[in-house]
């Protein structure tokens, strides 16, 4: 067990969820007699969930900052129909339409951010209003009709990496992408290790690093193999590519930039953040605005995939996105959560959905199971908070010898209570 802990080092939180995901995949692979990990099914899984995962990226930032956004489904639908209409009526080319959609998302986000950050209305209320508002706008501008989009725009939601170069039996671009990913993982790991050594920080032993790299890269190569060997005309899907780029960008923003730090600070302790010079209003505004931009993007991808925009697009998406974030280890009270965790949380839900479908479990039972999984995940989170601020992932890691993680300092807190009382 100690070896496992070493293997995943500081990132035990993410490991817990990845572990659950892998277990789930193996479970379904066995019980669907191998129908889970086929190229067709995996591609399908990504295509059918990429827009929820994109929403989860924005949602985790909103939840880290201590808010919630209930309007993302409606915003996605409104942006979707607006873009579809703009293409039909104004004859915008696809790239201009995408730009238009992102701009509209930004505008909507500014509206919601204004009420949340500067007027001080709880985001729950603002976005509940937004949920009604933008659903209404969707049906108003679309006259409750379905508006089709042209084929070049559909590429956004249902396109694949094209076939180029020599016939290898694989999709060459997908293979290239997989190899780049492998190289990236190896190089960044080695670089991080070198700097850590240079700074005199503790680094795990070489065998730990090598095992870790082998495991991660094996997973990447296996996924590459699945994506590159699908039925002709399919390969790594465009929505998956967009998702991958967004995960990289937002993962970087949340972990390594000033604004990312500020989001965690505001969500973790708003007063402390303000007294350290963080402009919490600005942070809240940007987080809400960003969410609506991503909702717009998700809406466009969905429209591309379903070839048309309709009055009931995006119903219930907010709930899927929120569920993904919480399963992914974010705390209800803010300040905790990661982009990659939310993606994994979303994948857990997606794999569950997909696997149960393959097993022939009805929609009724699927919903019951999903509901219980969400409840269990958040129940652990709440329970752990009463036990001293540990997230669900920390709980899962108990078995891996990290039980003392973040135990509160009992003596100090009582001393302070007393000095306050007197």
């Amino acid at each position: 067990m100690n070896a496992l802990k070493k293997l995943f080092g500081g990132n035990t939180r993410q490991f817990g969820m990845i572990f659950a995901l892998v277990a789930l995949v193996i479970f379904f692979q066995i019980f669907t007699s191998g129908r889970t990990l086929t190229p067709g099914n995996v591609i399908n899984l990504f295509n059918g969930n990429s827009y929820i995962l994109i929403l989860a990226i924005g949602m985790v930032l909103v939840i880290i900052a201590g808010h919630i956004d209930l309007s993302v489904g409606s915003v996605a639908a409104f942006v979707g129909i607006s873009v579809a209409l703009a293409i039909r009526d104004w004859h915008l080319p696809w790239y201009a339409a995408v730009l238009f959609g992102l701009l509209l998302g930004a505008l909507i986000g500014a509206w919601q951010g204004f009420w949340t950050a500067y007027v001080g209305i709880p985001a729950f209320i603002v976005t509940l209003a937004g949920m009604l508002l933008f659903r209404g706008f969707n049906q108003f501008v679309g006259k409750s009709n379905t508006v089709p989009v042209p084929e070049d725009f559909q590429f956004l939601g249902s396109g694949y990496l094209p076939e180029v170069g020599p016939k290898t039996g694989f999709n060459n671009l997908t293979v290239l992408l997989g190899l780049i990913a492998v190289a990236f993982v190896i190089i960044s790991e080695i670089r991080a290790r070198r700097t850590a050594q240079a700074l005199g920080a503790e680094v795990p032993e070489t065998w730990v690093m090598i095992t870790k790299l082998v495991l991660i890269n094996a997973a990447i190569l296996y996924a590459t193999y699945l994506f590159a060997t699908g039925r002709t005309g399919t390969s790594f899907p465009i929505p998956g590519l967009i998702l991958a780029v967004l995960v990289l960008i937002y993962g970087f923003i949340s972990a390594k930039t000033v604004i990312g730090r500020h989001i965690y600070a505001v969500g973790g302790n708003r007063h402390a953040a303000e007294l350290s010079g963080v402009q919490s209003k600005k942070v809240n505004f940007m987080v809400m605005m960003n969410m609506s931009i991503l909702a717009g993007l998700a809406g466009m991808i969905f429209v591309g995939r379903s070839t048309a925009s309709g009055p009931f697009d995006g119903v219930g998406w907010e709930l899927d996105a929120i569920a993904a974030v919480f399963i992914g280890g974010a705390a209800v009270t803010g300040g905790v959560g990661t982009v990659i965790g939310s993606i994994v949380g979303g994948l857990v839900m997606a794999v569950l959905n997909n696997g149960l479908q393959l097993l022939g479990v009805g929609a009724d039972l699927t919903q019951i199971i999903k509901g219980l999984v969400l409840l269990a995940a958040v129940a652990f989170d709440v329970y752990n908070k009463t036990q001293g601020k540990k997230s669900i992932i920390g709980m899962m890691m108990k078995n891996f010898g990290r039980s003392s993680e973040n135990a509160p300092d009992e003596t100090t807190s009582t001393k302070e209570v007393i000095s306050k009382e007197a």
């Binding site: 700097t195 000033v258 350290s276 010079g277 001293g388 601020k389 302070e416």
Partner: protein
């Protein structure tokens, strides 16, 4: 005993050698208290002496079994399980923070949890009738249907007393009843307490305002460091404020401070005519015409009792982060400067270490290195990107120089002890390289050894030519650390004493009265 009310034992309450422990701390040790029937008994002590803890033991907040010792009330040993049990016995406590619900009316508040019921339905007519009687008894002329939020704090305090009277109170406990009141409201309340005494209601009063105690109390019990020191009879012992102060502070001073010879430069920071309003209450000022200055290399103390306005003053200067700014001017190096946000204050070279480390000073979810750089991310960033290597190096450097005890700077701050948490907070502000660092209760909840180290850090900062302001409730700490001490009382600066002329007595005097020092 001049006026024996009945022929029974004139002692209403006796608390016998009460000891209350929290994990790692003995809050009360062998405390005894005797309260006679029909008297006003004051309890005095410094912040943290254990007064409120004692009252919580009495009122059942800390239930029977969680403390050692006996509570004898009306000649019987009591075993209160909760507040309800003590209230049934006629003991009612009125806390410093009033427990009224702003949206409900006076009547509804008085009868909350105690509603007159007829056939399962609240009899509001009866309640209203009785509340008019109760309001008359406390001398409050208000419509009983008025919502609580529409009457001032002084009147709210009277509603609390009316509520207590409705519970047929025999022993009324008032925790800092006049802390939030202005002079005339305070006087009215004191008169009322005297009036209640005339009707046979016994009161225990906790107060920092010694003039009030001297005015109305019959007996005074002094508590210091969780022990009962003495009980004084105001008339017989001829007690005055100086006598009470002596009892409150009379501990022996050990050498608890590192040696330090200050090198004090010229005045570089000045605040003039500083007026700040209360954030919620319209006409209340939390800082009244305050003037102070700090010299380079100087450690300036701010003494004042809780609620005197020390923190309010510091935070309002620090980028208007508290209250409504009304007027005043800050000068730095002779030039007037304006700081309307915390960011501007930090950029102007100020730092502020909060009094309440856990709720205002730290993000307990963070680790040490993120906390250390959190107030000055710019310094370790290129563009918008944080250089995590530099972050690690900075945190590591402060860990070594401040000797923070932790396995690594990647550790969560919630896992550190109070003293080490405070070192991380200090590191965070030292990294902003301030010219003036304001420390609000820098050693609260910290053990003696760590205190010594924190004092050393503060002195080092002063040696580097920075100005340091230390706000503290512990007078020995201020006396040991400061080169000069300002005293604050009810939002006004009442005096300034140099190190050599300050003593606990002289400070306490200035902290508890509005008399200006000569």
């Amino acid at each position: 005993m001049s006026t024996p009310i009945t022929h029974q034992d004139p002692i209403l309450l006796e608390m016998r050698s009460i000891t209350k422990e929290f994990p790692g701390v003995k809050a009360l040790s062998d405390v005894s208290l005797r309260v006679k029937v029909g008297e006003i008994h004051a309890i005095c002590g410094e912040n943290g002496a254990g007064k409120s803890t004692l009252m919580k033991v009495l009122s059942g907040v800390y239930p029977y079994g969680s403390y050692d010792g006996d509570i004898v009330y009306q000649a019987e040993v009591q075993q209160f399980r909760d507040i309800r049990a003590s209230e049934q016995a006629g003991i009612v406590i009125i806390h410093q923070e009033l427990a009224l619900i702003p949206e409900l009316s006076i009547t509804e508040n008085i009868f909350l949890g105690n509603e007159p019921v007829r056939r399962g339905i609240i009899d509001w007519a009866e309640a209203r009738k009785r509340s008019i009687e109760l309001l008359a008894r406390v001398g409050l002329r208000e419509n009983p249907d008025t919502p609580i939020k529409e009457i001032g704090v002084g009147k709210q305090q009277l509603v609390e007393i009316a509520k207590a009277l409705n519970k047929s109170v025999k022993l009324l406990i008032l925790d800092e009843p006049t802390a939030a009141l202005n002079e005339s409201d305070s006087q009215h309340l004191l008169d009322l307490i005297l009036g209640l005494k005339g009707r046979g209601i016994t009161s225990i009063m906790i107060s920092h305002k010694l003039n009030e105690i001297e005015q109305i109390a019959d007996e005074i019990t002094i508590i210091r460091d969780g022990k009962s020191i003495e009980t004084l009879n105001v008339k017989e012992d001829g007690v005055d404020e100086d006598r009470i102060i002596k009892g409150m502070v009379g501990r022996t001073l050990e050498s608890r401070f590192p040696d330090h010879t200050p090198t004090i430069g010229e005045v570089f920071f000045e605040v003039k005519d500083w007026n700040v309003g209360h954030p919620q209450i319209q006409d209340r000022l939390v800082c009244k015409n305050s003037n102070f200055h700090v010299r380079r290399g100087e450690i300036v103390g701010f003494a004042g009792l809780m609620g005197a306005g020390r923190t309010e003053l510091a935070r309002s200067v620090f980028g208007h982060s508290y209250g409504r700014f009304i007027s005043g001017q800050v000068y730095k190096d002779g030039k007037p400067i304006t700081m309307r946000s915390v960011r501007q204050a930090i950029d102007a070279g100020l730092g502020y270490v909060t009094e309440d480390r856990k709720s205002l000073g730290l993000n307990l979810l963070d680790d040490i290195k993120t906390t250390t750089v959190s107030a000055n991310l710019k310094k370790i960033s290129r563009g918008m990107v944080v250089d995590t290597n530099k972050e690690f190096m900075v945190a590591e450097q402060y860990r070594k120089s401040l000797r923070t005890k932790t396995p690594s700077v990647e550790e969560g701050v919630s896992k550190l002890s109070g003293g080490n948490q405070q070192k991380v907070v200090l590191a965070k502000w030292m990294f902003t390289d301030p010219d003036l660092l304001i420390l609000d209760e820098p050693t609260r909840g910290i053990d003696v050894g760590a205190k010594y180290e924190i004092y050393g850090i503060i002195q080092d900062l002063a040696n580097q030519g920075k100005g340091v302001i230390v706000i503290s409730s512990e007078l020995p700490e201020l006396l040991g650390l400061s080169d000069r001490i300002y005293t604050i009382f009810e939002g006004s600066i009442t005096g300034v004493l140099n190190k050599d002329e300050a003593s606990q007595e002289s400070l306490m005097k200035l902290m508890t009265s509005s008399r200006k020092a000569a």
